[in-house]
Symmetry: C2
Subunit: 228 residues, 2 copies
C-alpha cells in the first residue's frame, strides 16, 4: 500500500524541539544539571510538561525553528544549537489517539548567567534533569538521550567550559564534570586526565583571596578539540 | 502567522533516505569507497541520481522506513543502520517549485560480500564516493556529511572492521583506513596507533601462503569501543 497520494495525505506532522541544559547550585550548594520545560496548553497531554518546541513553519529552516520557539517560550538564545536526533516512533504519543508527530530535536548548553535571564512563569519552569515530572510524549526518553550525549561529549571535547567563566580553577572544572557525570572524581586522577588532553592551560594567575596557597587559574586552549 | 491549522496544512513532506558505503577495488586494485544511488523516475529532478529512500509511511518507524525502501530499491539489508542527520533547509530543492521535503537520513556500512549481492539495474548503480554524478536535491552534500562522519568514527571506534573478514593482517586493516581517509599512512605509525588503541589482538595464526615471513593475523577485540 504505498502510492504517492496516500503517503502524502498521511504524512506525519513535523515538530522541532530543544533540550537545554545548564548547571545550578542545588540546596546543598552543589552544581546540578537543570533543564527548562513548558506546560502544554492543548491536547494531547494537556497540562503536562514538555520540551520547548512547536510545529515546523513552512518558511523556516530546522535550526531557525528551534531558535525561534525557544526564544518565544523561554527567552533563551543560546549561541550554539546542535541537532541531537529525530524521534519518530509510531507509538510515541503513548496510546493517545493524537495524530503522529515526528520531532527533530536540537540541544544546547547555557551558562548560569544566561539561564538566570530566562523567562519563567506558571507554564515555564526549570527542573533538575534527574528529578523530572511526568512528561508528554516520549520527552523523558529524549532528555535522557541528550544526557547521554552530553556525558559522552564531555569525555572527548571541551564542552565543559561552556559552563565556566573564562578562567577557572581545576576544582571548578572538576565540579562541572562531577555534576554532569553524576559521580565523584578523584582530584589527582582528574588533574592528570585534564593535563593529558591538553584542553586547558595555566593563565599564570591564581584565584584572588586570602588563602595561604591560592589555586592556579586555567583557561581553555583555543583548539576546540570538537568532534562531531 | 502561526495557528495550528495553517502549520498543519503547510507541513513539509517527510522522507527517509539512506547513505550506504562499501569498499571495492578500483581499476588499480586499490580499495575505494562506493555508494549506491537510484535514478529518480518522477519530478522534481526526474532522471537524476539520488539516495535510496522515499516518503515516510504513517505506520512505519523511521529506521523501519529506511530499511524498507533500501531493501525495495537495492536489495540491501544491512544489519546496522544508524541515524545520520535530518536535512531540512527551506531551499534544498534548489530553486525548483517542488513542495518542501525534510529528509531524515540514515547511514550504513556493508562488507564487499553483501554489496555484491545488491541489485543493480539501469536505475540503480554504484558510484565511487569521490566521483559522484550530479545529484538531486542536496544529496551530494548529504553524502559528504556522511563521509565526514565515517572518517571521524574511524578514528575512535572499531568501525573499520565491518569492511574486513573476521581475521585480517595489519596491512589489510591499513588499506581500509587509507581508502576511507583518502591518504597513505605510514605502516610503522599505523601499527603503533592500532596497538595503542587495543581494538585488535593477535589470533596466533599467520596468513597462509608461501612467503618467507608470512604476516600475523589479527581480529577485533570484543569490547566494541563504540561511542555515539
Amino acid at each position: 500500500m504505498s502510492n504517492a497520494l496516500a503517503s502524502s495525505i498521511e504524512t506525519p506532522t513535523l515538530a522541532v524541539s530543544t533540550v537545554i541544559f545548564t548547571l545550578r547550585p542545588n540546596y546543598k550548594g552543589c552544581l546540578q544539571l537543570a533543564t527548562p520545560l513548558v506546560r502544554r496548553i492543548r491536547a494531547p497531554f494537556e497540562g503536562q510538561w514538555a520540551l520547548p518546541g512547536g510545529p515546523l513553519n513552512s518558511d523556516e529552516d530546522l535550526a531557525t525553528s528551534a531558535s525561534h520557539t525557544l526564544r518565544d517560550t523561554t527567552g533563551l538564545e543560546p549561541r550554539y544549537l546542535e541537532q541531537l536526533y529525530a524521534f519518530g516512533s509510531v507509538d510515541r504519543a503513548g496510546g493517545t489517539s493524537a495524530e503522529r508527530v515526528v520531532s527533530i530535536v536540537y540541544w544546547a548548553l547555557v551558562g548560569a548567567d544566561e539561564a538566570e535571564r530566562a523567562i519563567t512563569s506558571e507554564n515555564v519552569q526549570w527542573f533538575w534533569a534527574d528529578e523530572l515530572p511526568e512528561l508528554a510524549f516520549d520527552h523523558k526518553e529524549i532528555i535522557n538521550y541528550a544526557l547521554g550525549r552530553l556525558r559522552n561529549k564531555l569525555e572527548y571535547s571541551r564542552i565543559a567550559h561552556v559552563f565556566l567563566a573564562e578562567t577557572f580553577t581545576l576544582a571548578q572544572l572538576r565540579e562541572v564534570y562531577e555534576a554532569v557525570l553524576g559521580r565523584e572524581l578523584d582530584p589527582g586522577n582528574f588533574r592528570r586526565m585534564v593535563e593529558s588532553t591538553g584542553t586547558v592551560e595555566e593563565t599564570g594567575e591564581v584565584l584572588a583571596g586570602t588563602r595561604h596557597r591560592p589555586p592556579k587559574l586555567y583557561r581553555a586552549t583555543t583548539n576546540t578539540g570538537e568532534r562531531k
